[in-house]
């Protein structure tokens, strides 16, 4: 009952804010685009329905010649297990200035800087953290971070971009989620020693340095190539220290989490696929140098390692869009955990209809576990899109893609742009 009341309240707030934004648009003199998105899902494992409503407002305002105020505001209400009932935040808010000095462009504020040529799982896209969820079918969302980005155009084909973020921001995993995850991980180990664990208490080691990166890009006739260097941190938390607090009222694990430093030397390219007219080849290669990270005597990170995505996309004569390739190291894999995968996305709009069926899979070449997404998009009207998809994983929970079994279920979304 309480949850229903909260949902009604948050829905009312969102609708009120939507109306406010629409009505105040002429007064604010912004150019805005709004998207109202409903997402519903049914988890096959937990057998529960989740509902999320998001209002996203993109805005641009001319301040003066070639200087803009830009951003996007997100208001979200959700009944998901680890989600806040309502959140309201500017995902981006920045000044965007062109030709600050000749051929130099600047962005400053809460910004997003995206690197990498691959459409999925780029190991070079490190500057901004991602939300905790992982998208198998689309470009992963990123969260804005306070910083500055400068791009100097050496000539019309060559540019040098630098980004500097004074404060490191990690992916926002809810404490409750981490506590449940670590409790599930460590509780059986202590139970074997006859100790029952009642809960996990978290603390964090702050990252003590800023994040920065440089990227040099050049457009060759058949290919665009970029070399990049990133100096920052893993945005997912790693366990750093674990203590057991014995209490008469219940034993508590005191877990300290930290964010290991890392450097990434990257090469990305995109361009014509040799020998196949109309196909585009994209590649991201990352050489990752981690901070040595030891937890309970085990080296979680030690030696430099590689991650890579090599993909191609092509539209056939019968208008089937194909995007597939090879992945070495998914976003949740690090160091020695990295392994090889194949992925493919295919879709095709059915002739003379507004229906687009699609299929995506990721296949582990190590243990042949497989994540699958079967979906159908329906363009209800020019600005309304409905999507239905079914996600399932072939393989056990301890397989390479077993972590995605938590996402098994049926997903529905309805997006209205206005």
């Amino acid at each position: 009952m309480l949850k229903t009341k909260v949902n009604h309240y948050t829905l009312t707030v969102i609708l009120f804010l939507s109306l406010f934004i629409i009505l105040s648009q002429p007064v604010l003199a912004f150019d805005t685009t709004q998207a109202l998105l409903y997402e519903g899902s049914y988890s096959l494992n937990e057998q529960i329905f989740d509902h999320t409503i998001t209002l996203k407002v993109d805005y641009v305002q001319d301040l003066w010649s070639d200087v803009y105020l830009q951003g996007d505001l997100i208001i979200r209400a959700s009944n998901k297990k680890y989600s806040n009932p309502i959140i309201f935040f500017p995902n981006e808010l920045y000044l965007n200035a062109y030709d600050v000095v000749e051929n130099l462009d600047l962005k400053a504020g809460i910004i997003t800087t995206r690197w990498g040529a691959a459409d999925f799982f780029s190991p070079l896209d490190n500057l901004n953290p991602s939300p905790p969820s992982l998208s198998l079918t689309d470009n992963q969302d990123k969260m804005g971070v306070l910083g500055i980005s400068a791009t100097y155009y050496i000539d019309s084909l060559t540019s040098l971009q630098g980004a500097f973020y004074p404060i490191f921001i990690a992916s926002p995993y809810p404490d409750e989620y981490l506590q449940d995850s670590y409790l599930a991980q460590f509780s059986p180990l202590y139970h074997m020693q006859g100790i029952s664990i009642e809960g996990v208490e978290l603390s964090y080691q702050p990252a003590d340095d800023f994040v920065w990166g440089l990227q040099l890009s050049h457009a060759f006739p058949a290919f665009d190539v970029a070399l990049s260097y990133y100096h920052g941190y893993y945005t997912d938390p790693f366990p750093a220290n674990l203590d057991l607090a014995l209490n008469p009222s219940g034993n508590i694990l005191k877990l300290t989490l930290g964010y290991p430093a890392k450097q990434v030397i990257g090469l990305q390219f995109q361009g014509d696929f040799p020998g196949i007219d109309g196909a585009t080849l994209r590649g991201d290669l990352a050489y990752i140098i981690p901070e040595k990270w030891i937890f309970q005597g085990e080296n979680l990170l030690e030696k430099p390692y590689m991650k890579a995505v090599l993909s191609a996309d092509y539209t056939t004569d019968s208008n089937i869009y194909l995007n597939g390739g090879f992945i070495y190291g998914l976003p949740f894999e690090n160091g020695d955990q990295c392994s090889s995968y194949l992925y493919l996305h295919a879709d095709k709009q059915i002739t003379n209809t507004d229906f687009t069926p699609q299929y995506t899979f990721v296949l582990s070449l190590e243990d042949m576990s497989m994540a699958n997404v079967i979906g159908l998009d329906y363009q209800v009207s020019e600005n309304i899109l409905a999507s239905l998809s079914y996600v399932f994983v072939l393989g056990g929970t301890d397989s390479k893609l077993g972590i995605l079994k938590l996402s098994e279920g049926i997903f529905f979304s309805l997006e209205w742009l206005f």
Partner: protein, 261 residues
């Protein structure tokens, strides 16, 4: 990705429609020879180093279902290579999506605001239909008025010259073009495209024009019909400017990411 593909197709279709319309597919009028007709048509075309156009495009499928897009397009021709920068302004689901085609279509990029970075798209061979559209890059770069092409007047009515153009000396995908030239104003009213098999596959019709004070002609309403798919695209040009003072690097990745063009 679906959206990306659809945008790419729409963009390329739009670009081709516009290029075919304003770059002068012209040719051609009294007891004139075919070359004299073509010279008169060329004289009536606006010559400019670049142009900026705001237009509305209506795409109509064989069931009569239509989609309307508003767009802004810049183009220039340098060293016989066309560069195009085009952005959709409406409706909301395509707003801000921008296409850059540089070096005569050798480099093509698509920028979608939600994607947050330009995405390079491979150039196809000149003859191939690109990304499922009914047009090829060849259509973009083709000079229908080339002196090397064989031309002859097939028919003359009170209002039109019908001219057959046989492309020669080049490896192109059409066996002929049929041009209809207005005898009074000397502009091309219609172009019919014939495949190598001799099949009439598509038509371009200039339905409305604007004549400026120097008697230069700008098409303001164009319709392209794909006779294979029974698919039509109408382009209504709302505003066109010529010879703008654009920076040297205007047709670039840098410009395509700007929030306002």
């Amino acid at each position: 990705m679906i959206v990306l593909k659809k945008f790419t197709n729409l963009f390329l279709l739009s670009v081709l429609v516009i290029i075919l319309s304003i770059s002068g597919i012209s040719v051609y009028s009294e007891q004139l020879t075919v070359d004299e007709i073509i010279d008169r048509v060329k004289e009536n075309q606006v010559e400019s180093k670049n142009s900026k156009m705001q237009a509305e495009m209506v795409i109509i499928d064989k069931n009569g279902k239509s989609e309307t897009r508003e767009m802004l397009m810049y183009q220039k021709e340098e060293d016989d290579k066309m560069s195009i920068l085009m952005r959709f302004l409406a409706p909301k689901n395509v707003e801000g999506v921008t296409l850059l085609s540089a070096d005569g279509g050798d480099k093509i990029y698509l920028y979608m605001p939600a994607y947050q970075k330009p995405r390079r798209i491979a150039g196809a061979s000149k003859k191939e239909s690109f990304m499922g559209t009914d047009f090829s890059y060849e259509d973009l770069g083709m000079d229908y008025q080339s002196d090397e092409y064989e031309k002859k007047i097939l028919k003359e009515t009170e209002t039109l010259y019908s001219i057959e153009v046989i492309p020669t000396g080049e490896d192109i995908s059409y066996s002929k073009f049929m041009l209809s030239v207005d005898k009074e104003l000397f502009y091309m009213e219609k172009v019919e495209f014939y495949s190598l098999e001799g099949e009439h596959t598509k038509s371009l019709a200039i339905q409305e024009i604007k004549v400026d004070e120097n008697n230069k002609i700008t098409p303001t309403k164009i319709e392209i019909t794909n006779l294979i798919d029974n698919h039509r695209t109408t382009l209504n040009i709302k505003e066109i400017e010529y010879d703008l003072d654009l920076p040297g690097d205007f047709f670039s990745l840098r410009t395509m990411q700007k929030p306002k063009l």
